[in-house]
Amino acid sequence: MRFIIRRAGFFVLTLWAALSLNFFLPRIMPGNPINNIISKLHNVTPAQELAIERSLGIDNKASIWHQYVTYFANTAQGKLGLSVANGGEPVSELIRQGLPWTLGLIGITTILAFIIGTAIGAIAAWRRGSRLDSALPPLFVFTTAIPFFWVGMMLILIFSSVLGILPSYGAYPLGVTPSFSLAFIGQVLEYAILPALTLLITSIGGWVLTMRNTMVTTLTEDYVRMARAKGLSSSKIMVTVAARNAILPNLTGFAMSLGFVVSGAILVEYVFNYPGLGNMLLTAVNNVDYPLMQGLFLIITICVLVAILLSDIATAILDPRTRTAS
């Protein structure tokens, strides 16, 4: 329990650091962000101008420290400002629209990649010395080095341009309004196939290799030999003794890999024009939409922190040593 509290404390500090980065970056960059923004828009009402300033924490009448504190206060209340490129719509609203798409596509695919990759790695290590184990590592080493966006483009090439069987643009057909009907869900799934496949292909390699390497070492441990000595069945040994121990480093590695996942998410959403937060970020950047950019950076950071916290909790559950260690 103490472990979780310590981690949570660390996350709060990290969040503070991220917010501070958000606050100071526009101030240390060349040029005046406000003017840059206003020059991009037309007919900015004073209220909008105020909102933009507030979202950047800029208040020319107050001291930097005051601006800083107000910025934090505003963020805590969810006042993330107005998007300049989307007709002044509140940033929080835009985020709310894009979040489910990103969480759905990226979240589910990442978990799938983790589960499938870990399973393949475990089986490859179990069958040490087989031809399967010889062939897999080089293959997966290769897949970890391929850029996300290129895989996406290749899949589009094969399945959309040449074969024409899968869609390559968006999360659902143009002109259709989202609903909870079965037909719509079917379309969503259809449109998600290629992006999900892209993510799977590129990210699965890391899990396979790490799990295999850890498992190979775990299999030489005395407690695995002991499990054999006790007469446990092969499958029971592989899963409940060996894999159960070998998966722990993978879980901690999960936290490290989230940066990779996020980058992949952004690129894949871009290539497939998926209406998620990643695509939104890129569009925001192209439109010099600072408020939206900052809001997105914040929410992405929060998502990553939550994911890390969850994997830490999972580690604490699975590894009793972390629970009782001081």
Partner: protein, 329 residues
């Protein structure tokens, strides 16, 4: 950036490394490269790319920046990979772009590893408050999503040429390596040969540079390769989405133009495929070399089939017995 592949059991030498050991290490490395297939592929690929980067003139005769009127041309004898939206020869772009990508990869690889080394080893060695502060900074940068940060920084800047890209990638990429180096430095800190150096009265800077660093060469090499790979992928990624300097000739920027002009939709496949394939191959070269060195250091990971091992064992034994018999006579 690639999912960091953790391997267990990094080679830990029992004592410091002597000059003679360093020379024989080089011999062992060359032998290892020859015998390990992954290493061979990686090194060969890398050599090809380096060669192309140094002598682009040998491979492409057209100027990649020359705009012509033949826009969106399909591959032909005149233009092996066709032309882009400004009529520039795609093949020439790919060949010429090699240099920029390699410069990016190697500089970021070296710089990132150097910064990480300074911070990581210093934190481990100085300990106490320094360690705490440096650790905190490292961990925060580790957790904050790097790619969005990269995007935002690149967005605030007017235009991200290669130099800026290098700086930005280094600034965001050192944290993972720093953490790894710190933990290895910590485990080395109390090794006997270091205690001996301290007892001898050597100054900390001497100990760090002369005693600690050489024993960490394997980790430093792995970090360099990892960071180079990260630079290739993240750098190309940034260029692809338009945050690099679009007038720089590089694989990422070529792909950017391809995507902007819907190359895939218009059937200009070569334009879209080839630069990306090059990124993948260069990335693979780094990854193969890295993984091969992991296997060389930790034989338990080598993917030999049991049948092969048995054959090798019998062959060795036969040779040894013949040796034995010959000597006994």
């Amino acid at each position: 950036m690639a999912i960091p592949v953790t391997t267990t059991g990094l080679p830990q030498p029992a004592q410091g490394v002597s000059g003679a050991q360093r020379r024989s290490a080089l011999n062992r490395i060359t032998k290892a490269i020859r015998t390990n297939r992954k290493a061979t592929i990686g090194v060969v690929l890398m050599a090809i790319f380096i060669f192309v980067a140094f002598f682009p003139g040998l491979f492409a005769h057209q100027n990649p920046d020359t705009a012509t009127t033949q826009v969106f041309a399909h591959p032909s004898a005149a233009h092996w990979l066709g032309t882009d939206n400004l009529g520039r020869d795609v093949y020439a772009q790919v060949i010429d772009g090699t240099r920029n990508v390699l410069i990016l990869a190697l500089s970021v690889g070296i710089l990132t590893t150097a910064v990480a080394m300074l911070i990581g080893v210093a934190a481990a060695y100085l300990g106490g408050l320094w360690d705490g502060v440096l650790n905190f900074i490292t961990d925060v940068l580790l957790v904050i999503p790097i790619f969005p940060l990269l995007i935002i920084i690149a967005a605030y800047l007017p235009s991200a040429g290669n130099d800026v890209l290098i700086l930005v990638l280094t600034f965001t990429g050192w944290s993972y390596t720093a953490r790894q180096l710190r933990s290895q430095a910590q485990s080395l800190r109390n090794r006997d040969f270091l205690l001996a150096a301290r007892v001898r009265g050597e100054r900390p800077i001497y100990i760090i540079v002369v005693e600690i660093l050489p024993t960490m060469t394997s980790l430093l090499l792995a970090s360099f390769l990892n960071n180079a790979l990260y630079a290739v992928l993240a750098g190309s990624g940034l260029q692809f989405i338009g945050l690099g300097n679009a007038n720089n000739v590089s694989w990422g920027t070529t792909l950017y133009w391809a995507q902007q002009n819907n190359a895939l939709g218009s059937g200009l496949y070569a334009w879209a495929i080839v630069p990306g394939a090059c990124i993948a191959l260069l990335g693979a070269a780094f990854a193969f070399i890295n993984y091969a060195f992991d296997e060389i250091g930790n034989p338990a990971l080598r993917p030999l089939t049991a049948a092969k091992v048995r054959k090798a064992a019998e062959a060795s034994t036969k040779r040894r017995l013949a040796d034995h018999g010959a000597r006994a006579r």
